[in-house]
């Protein structure tokens, strides 16, 4: 099926607001938040595209683009550094487009690039979700249903305080209603931020929406199209989570400790999640550490206790230190006899000897980048 998706181009949209992620997104977008020990959120959308055979990907850059440029570089680690097609960076709309909120202006500003592609279809993915998806069945579904727009949905895993698009759909996937909810209830069929349409339809829709004063792709284009066009929803049955709040970020990391989910996300034959390659040495376990039910990335040195936690690259857990139910990002150090529980540490945090920090499973404590406690 690889060659089939060859005529689909990918657009990865990184321009998302994220009020509930607080300090996690102070200097980065959701797409560049570190996740599961060695990844960034964008890796999931981008790897799913590459594994589905998409070879032509435009990255719609946010204002805070440095972390993402440093991460993706030439696209080589995703096999997207190519003489033909490959990765293209699409900068945010310039001044001549005028000040307007929303994402449509950025699609509009890059219409020339999209139209110049030889692809027949556009697959738009907002890089704010964690999934490992094969887009080929979605293309077949789209072609079989004769949809104008196919959107990927999945039932919300839990109540979610962040607004989202929710659909009501018929058994065959036809969307019967579509609405914005200020907060989601568990089980709501919410949009995963993946939209597939013919390139010509996509471009015409963007042009028309923008030129009629629209600003938001989902509200002004997709929901408006609902009145006159056929929108189908494709339910993704595998694991998926939107990273829309600190709690969702924390819980989704912890969810990776389920070996079945770990396997589904990362170990399926032919469906790896790619990320920026780094030459980090394997993990060193010292004399008598206690490590259970945890994900540990390379470069870590573990002498203390680690339980039910996700440790990113180069984390040190010194003797007597205890890390429980926590997410510890790259380069952080938990010094001797320090204790953390239900904590999210950003990069290069130091928890000094003997200090203790505790959050709750429903309200993890966040420690900002480079903070020393």
């Amino acid at each position: 099926m690889r060659q089939k998706v060859n005529y689909v181009m990918g657009l990865v949209d990184l321009q998302q607001d994220s009020p509930l992620l607080g300090e996690l997104t102070k200097r980065r977008t959701i797409a560049s938040i570190p996740f599961a020990g060695r990844y960034r959120i964008i890796d999931f959308a981008l790897s799913s595209m590459v594994n589905s055979g998409i070879r032509d990907v435009g990255i719609l850059l946010p204002e805070k683009s440095r972390p993402i440029l440093d991460h993706l570089r030439s696209g080589k680690d995703w096999d997207l550094a190519r003489h033909h097609k490959g990765l293209a960076y699409l900068p945010p709309a310039q001044a001549e487009i005028g000040k307007r909120d929303g994402d449509i202006k950025n699609y509009y500003a890059n219409l020339d690039f999209i139209e110049a592609s030889l692809s027949d279809y556009v697959l738009l993915a907002r890089a704010d979700s964690v999934y490992n998806m094969d887009f080929n069945p979605i293309l077949r579904f789209h072609q079989n249903t004769g949809a104008d727009i196919t959107m990927v949905v999945s039932p919300a895993a839990h109540d979610d305080p962040y607004r989202g698009i929710v659909v009501k759909m018929a058994a065959n996937g036809l969307v019967e209603d579509i609405f914005v909810k200020p907060s989601l209830k568990k089980g709501d069929m919410r949009a995963l931020g993946v939209y597939l349409s013919r390139k010509s339809d996509f471009c015409a829709g963007v042009r028309e929406t923008y030129e009629h004063g629209g600003s938001d792709f989902r509200v002004d284009m997709v929901m408006k199209a609902f009145e006159s066009k056929k929108i189908y929803a494709y339910e993704h049955k595998g694991f998926s989570r939107r990273i829309c709040s600190m709690l969702a970020y924390y819980e989704t990391n912890i969810a990776m400790l389920d070996p079945d989910i770990w396997y589904e996300m990362f170990m399926q034959e032919g469906r790896p999640i790619f990320t920026k390659a780094k030459d980090t040495a394997p993990v060193r376990y010292k004399e008598s550490p206690r490590v259970v039910n945890s994900l540990v990335a390379n470069g870590c040195e573990i002498a203390g206790t680690v339980e039910n936690s996700v440790l990113f690259r180069g984390v040190k857990v010194e003797p007597g230190a205890v890390v429980r139910d926590s997410v510890i990002m790259q380069g952080s150090v938990i010094q001797e006899d320090a204790r953390v529980r239900c904590v999210v540490c950003d990069k290069n945090v130091i928890i000094s000897s003997g200090k203790s920090i505790e959050g709750a499973p429903t309200y993890p404590v966040f420690v900002g980048k480079n903070v020393r406690i």
């Binding site: 599961a36 680690d77 070996p259 993990v283």
Partner: protein, 384 residues
């Protein structure tokens, strides 16, 4: 385009003393340290030493090695004008030949050397674990106005008769070279790392090629010939960790060396060893697992007990299994309740539930690549 120094890595050896581990792959491609392959060490050393063009001479079972080295990108050796060149034996108008020895392998690639037109040629082997700044050795070669420089390391006197031993004068000039002497008069062992001034090397290689009695070997033929002609051959003393991993026991021991409290090489430090990265996630340590004094790489899952051992990528150790003092190579599977002690478990090997692979420090047990060990198969001992 003229370059200063061209490195040639001799990576064609079978490594027959590694037994089942090199049944399907050449020795330099043998996995090491949980994440690396032996050839990562010379390649990373080249990259850090500023050597931008590297020929990799292959012969025995080269596919895995070719595939692994690729275009040299993992070591930043894929520049537009430099990079890695894989040099297997080839056929020419005069016929086709295998590489008949280390010197012959270089001789057959003289046209590659001429194309690169280097001032110096650095000869390396693909079977040692060490870090070394070759640029310092090159400085020493130039300072001495040497024809050839040979890196040497002091070995324990008791082991000297296993090595090529160098006798030197006070300036470090080599006066005598004896391959595996019965009664060594020096404990300076050749590390198999040579720098030659190109024209000088070429002359000796061409003469050696005409000599039908020659074994076409650097240690046995080329170096003695150079000494016989009173060439300016100098030693370059190296201090630090250097381990030949040509046998099962030495390969096992070198792996164990990295489990020490202070590992002999800071493998992820400034002089970091690079390797071709695989897209695999952080490893997972299960709810009833126990891991101590060990190195564990990405992409593995540990549900059992692992002590003083090395777990490579993609390995799975099931619940109740015990792995002690062992090296588990990539994608091997250790079944529930299995016992692995003083062993090297080959890539993609399967140690079935309840099976035992138990060796001794002086007789490390080995399973070959993809081999399956069943519980009935009692203690296996295979001496390397």
């Amino acid at each position: 385009m003229k370059i200063n120094c061209l490195a040639m890595i001799l990576a064609g050896g079978q490594g027959s003393r590694l037994g089942p581990l090199t049944k399907n792959i050449a020795k330099p491609a043998v996995p090491f340290g949980g994440k690396y392959r032996i050839i990562d060490f010379p390649l990373s050393n080249c990259a850090h030493s500023g050597i931008e063009r590297v020929g990799v001479l292959t012969q025995y079972r080269p596919f895995a090695l070719h595939n692994y080295v690729g275009n040299g990108n993992a070591w930043d050796l894929d520049g537009r004008t430099g990079g890695v060149y894989i040099l297997p034996p080839y056929a020419s108008a005069h016929g086709a030949d295998w590489y008949k020895g280390t010197a012959d392998a270089i001789y057959q690639n003289l046209n590659f050397i001429e194309m690169s037109d280097p001032n110096y040629v650095l000869i390396l082997s693909g079977d040692h674990i060490y870090t070394m700044d070759y640029s310092k050795m090159l400085d020493s070669h130039r300072r001495n106005k040497a024809d050839a420089t040979i890196a040497v390391i002091e070995v324990p006197w008791g082991e000297a008769s296993r090595f090529g031993i160098m006798e030197t004068d006070d300036d470090g000039r080599i006066t005598k070279f004896v391959e595996k002497p019965k009664e060594p008069k020096s404990n300076l062992a050749s590390m198999g790392i040579y720098i030659f001034s190109t024209a000088y090397l070429k002359r000796f290689l061409e003469e050696d090629a005409k000599d039908e009695m020659s074994e076409h070997d650097f240690g046995k033929n080329i170096i003695p010939e150079m000494l016989a002609e009173r060439g300016r051959l100098f030693s370059y003393p190296f201090e630090g960790y250097w381990k030949d991993v040509g046998t099962i026991e030495s390969l096992w021991q070198a792996n164990m060396d990295f489990l020490a409290k202070r590992p002999p090489i800071d493998i992820g430090g400034e002089w970091r060893i690079s390797s071709a990265n695989q897209p695999v996630p952080p490893h997972y340590i299960g709810a009833n697992a126990k891991v101590a004094q060990s190195i564990v790489n990405e992409g593995s899952m540990v549900f059992g007990a692992v002590e003083h051992s090395i777990i490579s990528m993609g390995v799975r150790v099931d619940e109740g299994a015990r792995v002690t003092d062992s090296v588990i190579l990539p994608h091997a599977y250790i079944g529930a309740g299995a016992v692995v002690d003083h062993a090297i478990i080959g890539s993609r090997s399967v140690v079935s539930a309840g099976a035992r692979v138990v060796g001794r420090e002086d007789a490390i047990a080995v399973t070959g690549d993809g081999e399956e060990v069943l519980p009935e198969t009692d203690e296996r001992r295979q001496v390397g």
